[in-house]
């Protein structure tokens, strides 16, 4: 009988989403409509807020989406820059529109 790791607190496709977001973050595909990654700097120019608009994570709650963003950030940014991020907000297109985020 196979022995598999089981982590009920982490949705099965989360790693796939992390992989896809990190790939897009590192090498943006100009033809892709989503995910849209918005990086907001503070007055020093450090990115402290990251918003990602993406339809594909509609099934995840906001905290899980934030974890996807942070896990992807760890792949594409040096750790000191990752630790400067204090807001990681994952939204679907509808939610982003409701929040009046200019992402289109």
């Amino acid at each position: 009988m196979p022995v598999k790791s089981y982590n009920p607190s982490r949705p099965a496709d989360m790693q796939v989403l992390v992989d896809r977001l990190a790939a897009e973050w590192e090498s943006p595909d100009p033809a892709a409509a989503e995910p849209v990654i918005l990086q907001e700097p503070n007055h020093k120019g450090d990115v402290v807020r990251v918003y990602v608009v993406w339809s594909d994570w509609a099934h995840l709650d906001r905290e899980r989406r934030g974890e996807v963003i942070m896990d992807a950030a760890e792949r594409v940014k040096p750790m000191p820059d990752v630790l400067k991020i204090t807001i990681a907000m994952g939204l679907t297109p509808d939610e982003a529109d409701r929040f009046k985020i200019r992402w289109r």
Partner: protein, 135 residues
Amino acid sequence: LLLQEFDGSVYLFGYAVEMWLKAVCLRLRGHGPTVQVKAALPPLKTWMKANAPSVPFGDYHDLSALARAVMALRQDQGRPLPLPLLTELGLRIAGGMHDGWIVDMRYRRSGLSAADAWAALLSAWWLRSHWPQLT
């Protein structure tokens, strides 16, 4: 508590403790009162993984992890908690309420006693009285 609903009492005291701890953590991270909490917690978890890797940050309702985040954030800011606060936070919350409270209490009864409920009240009351000093 007066109606002897001890399970419900402990659940609500723990929930209040969770909110105060989150408020302290987010203030220490530089956030104001209007921050989107669910967008601020994953970066805190990442920060904890880098700065306090021995603290298991399982979920965002973990009272022990949140209390230890307060300690780690204060330490990182060069303002470690004074020993009396550190001790009380550790004993009452990280090692006290954390052991007897889980968020799933809202879904099921645990058969808690009056003593459990009063102990939870005293811990929650301590945090209610001291949370501004933790920031």
